[in-house]
C-alpha cells in the first residue's frame, strides 16, 4: 500500500506542484486549500505525512500541528511557509514538526524529507 501524503496550502499552485512531484514517487497525495476540510478528512483516513502551510486564513498551520500531534501521533508534520524568519523557526521547533521548509521549496529536498519521515 502506498504512503498517504496530505498537502494543505491556500495557494492552488503549491498543492498542484507538490501533488505531481510526489505522485511521481508513487505516493497517494491529497491536496486541500484550507485546514478545515483537511482536518475533517483526517478523521476519515490515516495519513502518513501532513505538509501544511503555516500562515492561512482560519485555522493556521500551528493549529493543524497541534491537532495532529494530539490526535494522530503517528502522523508526521512538515511545515512550509513563505515567511520564514527566525521566530517562526523557533516556534516550529518547539512545536516539534518533523521538518520545516521556507518557500520556494526545493522538490528534491522535500522528497528526501518525506522519505525520511516515512522511514522513522
Amino acid at each position: 500500500m502506498s504512503a498517504r501524503i496530505m498537502i494543505i496550502d491556500d495557494e492552488k499552485i503549491v498543492g498542484d506542484m507538490a501533488k505531481i512531484s510526489l505522485e511521481d514517487e508513487g505516493y497517494a497525495v491529497e491536496t486541500f486549500l484550507s485546514a478545515a476540510p483537511a482536518l475533517e478528512r483526517l478523521k476519515e483516513e490515516k495519513f502518513d505525512v501532513v505538509v501544511t502551510d503555516l500562515k492561512m486564513k482560519g485555522i493556521d498551520g500551528l493549529e493543524v500541528l497541534k491537532v495532529v500531534k494530539e490526535q494522530y501521533p503517528d502522523t508526521k508534520v512538515i511545515m512550509i511557509t513563505a515567511f520564514a524568519n527566525l521566530d517562526v523557526a523557533i516556534e516550529a521547533i518547539r512545536g516539534e514538526v518533523f521538518d520545516f521548509f521556507p518557500k520556494p521549496i526545493k522538490i528534491k529536498e522535500m522528497k528526501e524529507s518525506i522519505k525520511r519521515a516515512l522511514e522513522g
Binding site: 492552488k12 499552485i13 506542484m17
Partner: protein, 853 residues
C-alpha cells in the same frame, strides 16, 4: 562628496562640467560605471534566482514571485538612475522600464487586459500583442517582419474579438453553465452549432470586411486565403497539432471569411480539443481563440521541416515533401519524399529518399480543397529540385537560429517556383542523452520473440507494456482500457483523447511529421508509425512489450517482458502540463530572455528591449561605451589601447590608475601591464593549448581569420570591429569579452585586504543548440565550483562569485579563469554527450587543454 545624495552629486557634476568646460573626471565616470554594474549584477542575480526557482525544481507560490520581482524592479530602477547619471540621460531607458514593468504587473496582478484591438495586420503586431494574437500568428508575424524567409503576410483576429463574438451570441453564459454542471459530447456539439449559427458583432464584422478589402487590393480579387487557428498556447511547448480547424482556400468575400472564422473557433469545442485542453488544466471555454488569415499559396508541392530529429533529439535536420498542399503530410496520409541533413559542422545532405506519395490534396477552383490520387508519373519523381531542398534547409536553419530553439516548419512551393514558409513553431523533441546510457534493442532481441521489429518510423522513444487494443473507428477510442497499446491502421489526431489512457501507439500508416506524431512526442507516449504490418502482426487483447531505444531501434515483443518493463522511468504528469505553473512562469518571458545580442546592430535600442535582461544588457553596453568615450575625451585617442599579445583577443585596455607601466603609445604589450588581476588573467589565456589546441602558428593574420571562420556559424557582423574592453587599475579589472555568442564578464578587485576582494564571473553562451549550451554552462560551473565559486545558472546564463579572498588566491583563480575563458571557446562542437562534460572537466583541471587528444 560624502553625505550628499547621489542625484545631487550628479547634478553638481554636470554643473561643474558646464562651468569648467569639458574636463571629464574619469575617476567619477568610472565610479558611476561601477555603480551601474553593481546594480546590474544584483538585478541579474535576482533574475537568475527567479529562473532557478521557477524552473521546475522548486515549488513556489505567488508571494515569492511578487517579492522577487519587487526586489528586481528596485535594483533595475536604481541601475537606471545611475545609468542616466552616467549617460547624461541620453537614452529613454526609463520609459522602456516602465513599459515592461506594466506588462509584468499586468500578468502578476491579473488585471483585465486593456487590449481593445480586433484585427491586427502582421506588420503591426508588436511583442506586447503576442498573447492577443496567439502563438501561431505571432510567430508568423515575427518571421514576416524580421526574417528574410518569405512568409505570406496576413492579419490576425484577436482574442479580444473572440471574446466579443462569444459574448454577443450568449455563449459565454452557456459555457459557464456547462462547467458547473458537467457536459457530454452532445453539449459540445450544441456549442459548436450555436457558434455556427451565430453572428459577428457589428464592430468586428466591419473591421473584418475592411481587412478583407485591404487584402483584395494587395492580392487581387481572385485571391484566396487560409483561415487558421492561433490559440493562446500554440507557441508554447504544446502545439495542439491537428486539434483545431484550418479552412483552406477561402475566397476574399465577407460571407465566406465569416463562415470560415466561425468554423475555426468552433473547433475549440470538439471532444478531442477539449480533452487536450483539459489535460493542460483549462476548463471548457478557458482558452481563447485568436485566428489568422493568411494568403493562400497555390502549392505545387509542400511539406514539413524539422530542425532536429524529434525522436532522438540529435542534430539532424529533416525535410519531407509531397505533391499539392501540405495537409497530406501533416495528416500522415502519405509516404513523402524525405531528406536528412547533418548540421554540424555545416549543413550537409546525408540521406535522400523519394516516397510513394500515393495521394495529394489540391485547391479546388470553387474554393475548398479536394483529395485525389497522385498521377502515376509524378509518384516516383521528387517534388523538389536539389537546389530547392538546399534552399529550404538553409531557411529552416535560419529560423531555428532566430528563435533559438528547434523548429517544426511547414512550407510550400508555389506554381511560379517560389518557396514559402507557412508556419513555424517550437519543436518538442526528446533531448539526446537525457537519461544516460540505456540498453539497445539488439541486446534483447536474442532472448525474446519480436512480433514487429524496426519496421516503419519511430515517433517517440520509450518503453511500454500492455494489452493490444485495435482501434477501427473513432468510437472505439472511448472503450480503450487504461494502459492499452493502441494499434490502428491509420493514425489520427483524434487519438489525443486516448493519451491519458494509452501506454503506446502503433500504426500501419502515417508519418513522423503528422499531427498525431507531434502530440505523442508532447505527451511522451512511445509510438511507432508506418509499420505496414502492425494490424496483421498484433492481435487484439494480446500482451505485448514495446521498446524503443535511444538510437531509434525498436521491437514489439510477445508478452510482458519484465526485464524491459523494469527500465521504465516513471513519468507521471510533468510540471509543464500544469496550467498554473505555466501561467506563473509566463512572467519570466518578460524578464529573462535576451533579445539584444549584437550591440553594433541597429536593433540595439531601448525600444527594442523586450525584457528586463535586455534593459540590463543595454545599460551595460552603453555604460562601457560611455566609459570608453570618457576615456578617449580625457586623454585623447590614446586612452583606448589595443592589447598586443600572442593570441588575438581583440582586447582594448582603459587604464584608470596605475594599470600600465607606460601609458604612451596606442598599443600595449604584456610587459606594460601592471594591473595584477589583468596579468593573472592573461597568463591563464596564454597558457599553451588554452586558446588553440593546435600548435601555435605565428602568423597573426591566420589567427584572426581562423577565429572569424569559427564564429561564422553564428555571426552576422564583422567580429574584428567589436571591441573587447578591459578597464584596469593596479588592483582592479573589469573585462568584457565577446566571442561569437559567448559573452564573458570578469570583474575583480584584488587588494591586500581580503575583505574587500571579489572575483565575479558572468558567462552567457548562446549558440542555438540548447543541450550543448547547457552542457557548456555546466562544465564551466563545475570547474568554477572546484575553485570555490558560488554560482547560479539558468539556461545559458551563469553567474559565479568568490568573495573575501586573499590576494594570492584571487590571482590564482584569475589565472585559471583566463585559461577557462580561452578553453571554452573551443568547445562549440565537441560537447556531444553528458559524459563529455566530465571528461573535459577532468582534462581542464589537469591542465590538459587538448580537445583532440
Amino acid at each position: 562628496m560624502k553625505g550628499i545624495p547621489r542625484k545631487l552629486e550628479s547634478v553638481l557634476q554636470k554643473a561643474r562640467q558646464r562651468i569648467f568646460g569639458e574636463a571629464v573626471d574619469l575617476k567619477t565616470v568610472f565610479g558611476d560605471f561601477k555603480a551601474v554594474l553593481e546594480s546590474n549584477n544584483r538585478a541579474l542575480e535576482v533574475i537568475t534566482d527567479m529562473g532557478e526557482k521557477l524552473g521546475g525544481e522548486y515549488i513556489f507560490d505567488i508571494i515569492y514571485i511578487k517579492k522577487a520581482y519587487e526586489e528586481l524592479y528596485a535594483d533595475i530602477r536604481n541601475s537606471v538612475e545611475q545609468f542616466n547619471s552616467l549617460s547624461h540621460s541620453r537614452y529613454p531607458i526609463g520609459n522602456t522600464l516602465d513599459r515592461i514593468d506594466a506588462a509584468i504587473k499586468k500578468a502578476l496582478y491579473e488585471e483585465a487586459p486593456a487590449f481593445a484591438g480586433r484585427i491586427l495586420f502582421f506588420g503591426d503586431i508588436t511583442w506586447e500583442a503576442a498573447r492577443e494574437v496567439g502563438g501561431k500568428n505571432y510567430h508568423l508575424s515575427q518571421m514576416a517582419n524580421s526574417l528574410d524567409v518569405n512568409v505570406p503576410s496576413g492579419f490576425a483576429v484577436t482574442a479580444h474579438a473572440y471574446d466579443e463574438f462569444m459574448r454577443h451570441n450568449g455563449l459565454d453564459a452557456k459555457i459557464e453553465a456547462l462547467n458547473s454542471v458537467g457536459y457530454g459530447d452532445d453539449d459540445l456539439k450544441g456549442i459548436r452549432e450555436a457558434i455556427s449559427d451565430g453572428e459577428l458583432p457589428e464592430p468586428l464584422g466591419a473591421e473584418l470586411d475592411g481587412a478583407i478589402e485591404k487584402l483584395r487590393a494587395a492580392l487581387g480579387p481572385d485571391a484566396f486565403i487560409s483561415v487558421r487557428s492561433s490559440a493562446e498556447e500554440e507557441d508554447s511547448e504544446f502545439s495542439f497539432a491537428g486539434q483545431f480547424a484550418t479552412v483552406l482556400n477561402v475566397p476574399l468575400q465577407s460571407d465566406a471569411v465569416r463562415d470560415a472564422y466561425k468554423k475555426v473557433i468552433a473547433s475549440l469545442f470538439t471532444s478531442a480539443a477539449v480533452s487536450y485542453q483539459k489535460r493542460l488544466g483549462y476548463a471548457v471555454g478557458g482558452m481563447r481563440m485568436p485566428v489568422g488569415c493568411v494568403p493562400m499559396i497555390d502549392a505545387v508541392a509542400s511539406g514539413v521541416a524539422y530542425t532536429v530529429d524529434p525522436a532522438t533529439g540529435k542534430e539532424r535536420l529533416s525535410i519531407s515533401a509531397s505533391w499539392g498542399l501540405g495537409e497530406s503530410v501533416v495528416a500522415g496520409k502519405v509516404d513523402p519524399d524525405t531528406y536528412v541533413f547533418e548540421k554540424m559542422p555545416a549543413l550537409k545532405l546525408a540521406e535522400a529518399k523519394v516516397g510513394r506519395k500515393e495521394s495529394m490534396i489540391s485547391s479546388s477552383k470553387a474554393g475548398g480543397t479536394e483529395e485525389s490520387a497522385t498521377p502515376e508519373d509524378m509518384r516516383a519523381r521528387a517534388c523538389l529540385s536539389d537546389g530547392q531542398v538546399a534552399e529550404l534547409a538553409e531557411r529552416a536553419l535560419k529560423i531555428e537560429k532566430y528563435f533559438r530553439r528547434p523548429q517544426d516548419i511547414e512550407w510550400a512551393l508555389s506554381a511560379d517556383g517560389n518557396l514559402y514558409i507557412l508556419q513555424a513553431r517550437p519543436l518538442r523533441a526528446a533531448s539526446s542523452g537525457e537519461r544516460g546510457k540505456t540498453r539497445s534493442v539488439e541486446e534483447f532481441s536474442g532472448q525474446y520473440r519480436a512480433l514487429v521489429h524496426n519496421k516503419g518510423n519511430v515517433v517517440q522513444k520509450g518503453i511500454a507494456g500492455g494489452k493490444v487494443f485495435v482501434v477501427k473507428t473513432v468510437d472505439d477510442i472511448e472503450k480503450l482500457p487504461k494502459g492499452a497499446v493502441l494499434v490502428a491502421k491509420n493514425d489520427s489526431p483524434q487519438f489525443v483523447r486516448a493519451m491519458p489512457f494509452v501506454s503506446a501507439i502503433v500504426t500501419d500508416t502515417g508519418s513522423t511529421t503528422s499531427h498525431m506524431a507531434s502530440i505523442c512526442r508532447e505527451f511522451k507516449v512511445p509510438s511507432v508509425v508506418n509499420t505496414r504490418e502492425a494490424t496483421r502482426a498484433l492481435r487484439d487483447g494480446q500482451d505485448v512489450t514495446l521498446y524503443v531505444d535511444d538510437d531509434g531501434n525498436y521491437a514489439i515483443y510477445d508478452g510482458l517482458v519484465d526485464e524491459i518493463l523494469e527500465l521504465i522511468e516513471r513519468t507521471g504528469r510533468s510540471l509543464e502540463e500544469l496550467y498554473e505553473f505555466r501561467k506563473k512562469k509566463y512572467i519570466m518571458r518578460f524578464i529573462s530572455p535576451l533579445n539584444l545580442v549584437n550591440p553594433l546592430a541597429d536593433e540595439f535600442t531601448p525600444e527594442k528591449c523586450n525584457t528586463m535582461h535586455d534593459i540590463l544588457r543595454f545599460m551595460h553596453e552603453k555604460s562601457v561605451q560611455g566609459l570608453i568615450d570618457a576615456s578617449m575625451k580625457a586623454a585623447g585617442k590614446g586612452a583606448l589601447k589595443r592589447l598586443e599579445i600572442a593570441i588575438p583577443t581583440g582586447i582594448n585596455v582603459i587604464d584608470i590608475g596605475d594599470g600600465l607601466s607606460d601609458s604612451s603609445g596606442s598599443t600595449v604589450k604584456l610587459e606594460q601591464v601592471q594591473s595584477e588581476p589583468m596579468r593573472a588573467v592573461l597568463n591563464g589565456m596564454l597558457r599553451p593549448g588554452a586558446w588553440h589546441s593546435e600548435a601555435v602558428d605565428l602568423n597573426p593574420r591566420d589567427f584572426l581569420s581562423s577565429m572569424m571562420r569559427m564564429q561564422d556559424l553564428t555571426a552576422s557582423v564583422d567580429q574584428s570591429t567589436y571591441r573587447n574592453v578591459a578597464v584596469i587599475s593596479r588592483e582592479y579589472l573589469n573585462m568584457t569579452l565577446r566571442f561569437g555568442y559567448h559573452f564573458n564578464l570578469l570583474d575583480c578587485y584584488c587588494s591586500e585586504k581580503a575583505a574587500n576582494n571579489h572575483v565575479y564571473f558572468r558567462f552567457v553562451g548562446g549558440a542555438t543548440d540548447i543541450s550543448k549550451r547547457s552542457r557548456r554552462i555546466r562544465l564551466i560551473a563545475e570547474i568554477l565550483k572546484e575553485f570555490g565559486f558560488i554560482s547560479s545558472t539558468k539556461g545559458d546564463l551563469l553567474i559565479a562569485r568568490l568573495s573575501h579572498i586573499e590576494k594570492a588566491e584571487a590571482l590564482r583563480v584569475l589565472d585559471m579563469s583566463g585559461s577557462l575563458i580561452a578553453f571554452t571557446r573551443q568547445l562549440d562542437a565537441v560537447l556531444g554527450t553528458d559524459s563529455d562534460v566530465e571528461r573535459f572537466k577532468q582534462a581542464f583541471l589537469a591542465g590538459n587543454f587538448g580537445i583532440h587528444s
